[in-house]
């Protein structure tokens, strides 16, 4: 039988951290992605250029480097701010830098760029006639977005979203490098301490496969839901 040598509860805790981290970053990435997609379709050149720079820079640099930049840089920035507060205003307040929040912000920020590209393509795939029909019914922009553009867009975006989510899930493993105790970090520590890498690393790998398979199933159901009325699939 699998002997986890007392690391079992910590591994489970780590799995909890991984899942929370992945879901919260996904939420942030979806919001950022929608904003980026709208910005990229905007007629305002400054807005458009900002979004293009964001997606290009983020997609050109490794996740781990961005993570270290934001994490170590953020740590330093926070220290500078609390020093400044003390020097200028005499406020002795130490702002602690939360590793979990930093992880969510970084991963959300990175995948916002990928989601933005997915959403942009999906919005452009929505038949223009649908939008004209909505306008003809006198819908305002928000109602048009909620009732027509968003549901129609999701149909095209889902395969890309599912792909991005799988990559995001695997990217969460990187937070173990910058000090967050997710399941990869616990497994790596346990392997080093007990000299039995397979006992800890293989179950963690299997856990990723399980999460991936469950999400595949969920995405297949969503796909069915958003394809109602289009036949096939």
């Amino acid at each position: 039988m699998l002997d986890l040598q007392g690391y079992g509860p910590r591994l489970l805790e780590g799995a909890g951290v991984t899942i929370q981290l992945a879901l919260l970053s996904l939420a942030l990435a979806l919001v950022l992605g929608l904003v980026t997609a709208s910005a990229k379709m905007s007629r305002n050149r400054l807005v458009h250029a900002t979004a293009t720079v964001y997606t290009t820079l983020i997609r050109g640099v490794p996740d781990l480097v961005l993570m270290m930049l934001l994490f170590f840089g953020g740590q330093m920035g926070v220290n500078v701010i609390s020093d400044m507060l003390y020097d200028n205003f005499g406020i002795d307040y130490y702002i602690s830098f939360n590793a979990f929040a930093a992880g969510v912000l970084t991963i959300g920020f990175i995948f916002g760029a990928y989601m933005g590209e997915t959403f942009r393509g999906a919005f452009m795939a929505v038949d223009n006639g649908q939008i004209e029909a909505g306008r003809a019914y006198g819908m305002n922009n928000w109602l048009l977005f909620r009732r027509i553009r968003f549901p129609q867009m999701m149909r095209h975006a889902l395969p890309g979203l599912s792909n991005n989510w799988m990559v995001l899930l695997k990217t969460t493993a990187l937070v173990s490098v910058i000090g967050l105790t997710d399941m990869v970090r616990v497994a790596a520590e346990a392997s080093r301490a007990t000299h039995e890498p397979f006992v800890f690393l293989l179950p963690v790998a299997a856990a990723y496969l399980v999460i991936a398979s469950v999400s595949e199933w969920i995405f297949a159901r969503l796909q069915k839901r958003y394809n109602i009325g289009f036949g096939g699939h």
């Binding site: 997609r59 996740d63 781990l64 270290m68 330093m76 990187l174 990869v184 790596a188 690393l201 990723y208």
Partner: protein, 242 residues
């Protein structure tokens, strides 16, 4: 040579972090990253072509193991794969007596194995998808010419599949470059490793990581333009006439 180094020192004069020495670390990191990524991509590509063909085999006992391999390697983080190989290689029976041990003891080769297996899995799926998408008419035409299965694979299916797979493979190359950053986790001094070293030594996160980010960005663009050029050459027949 002396001229260049004095010129270099003049330019860097007054710069506390980017001295000739730290730039040397970055240069060595660039060399390590390039070697690691290039070797794993080439070996991965060589592995992926037969695997992609066999992945579409009629026999389950050929198809399923390959599917399982790509499923596991694409479904788990590369970091885990790297840890398993890096920490696990010691425990393979007889490995410490074998002639490979001097190589495997260093971090470079376990990292190379992990990256190669990973990119081979992704590339297999990319090529498999491209092979599956071959137009029926091309296959029928090849059959009508009396081509054997092997000749058809070599002359018709594979060349056309390679062209179709090119954009997706370009993404995989960029993905591999970015993924290689985790080599620094197992003590390898790649580009990211150099940046971490400079950060730790001077406590200068912005300088250390922004500089390395700029290098990665340049590499990414170079790969991007190379693949655009290839696509333009190889997919010329698909371009609209006007």
């Amino acid at each position: 040579m002396l001229d260049i180094s004095t010129w270099f020192n003049d330019i860097l004069a007054g710069n506390l972090i980017f001295t000739a020495q730290t730039l040397g670390y970055y240069w060595e990191g660039l060399v390590t990253t390039t070697q690691l990524v290039f070797l794993s991509l080439v070996i991965g590509l060589v592995m992926a072509v037969p695997l992609a063909v066999l992945r579409g085999s009629k026999h389950q006992w050929i198809r399923l193991p390959i599917y399982l391999y790509t499923y596991v390697f694409r479904g788990t983080p590369l970091l885990i794969q790297l840890y398993i190989i890096y920490y696990g290689v010691v425990f393979v029976d007889g490995i410490q007596e074998s002639f490979l041990w001097p190589l495997l003891r260093e971090a470079f080769y376990p990292a190379l194995i992990a990256f190669t297996l990973n990119t081979a899995a992704y590339t297999t799926e990319i090529f498999h998808g491209a092979i599956k998408a071959t137009a029926r008419g091309e296959i029928e035409a090849a059959r009508a010419y009396g081509m054997s299965q092997n000749l058809m694979m070599r002359r018709i299916i594979l060349p056309s599949a390679f062209r179709r797979a090119l954009p997706a493979y370009g993404n995989e190359v960029i993905f591999m470059l970015h993924a290689s950053a985790i080599a620094s986790v197992v003590t390898l001094m790649d580009l990211t490793g150099a940046a971490r070293f400079v950060y730790a030594r001077y406590y200068a996160p912005f300088e250390a990581f922004l500089f390395v980010a700029a290098i990665y960005l340049c590499l990414t663009f170079a790969i991007l333009y190379f693949f655009r050029f290839l696509e333009k050459k190889l997919l010329a027949h698909l371009r609209p006439l006007s």
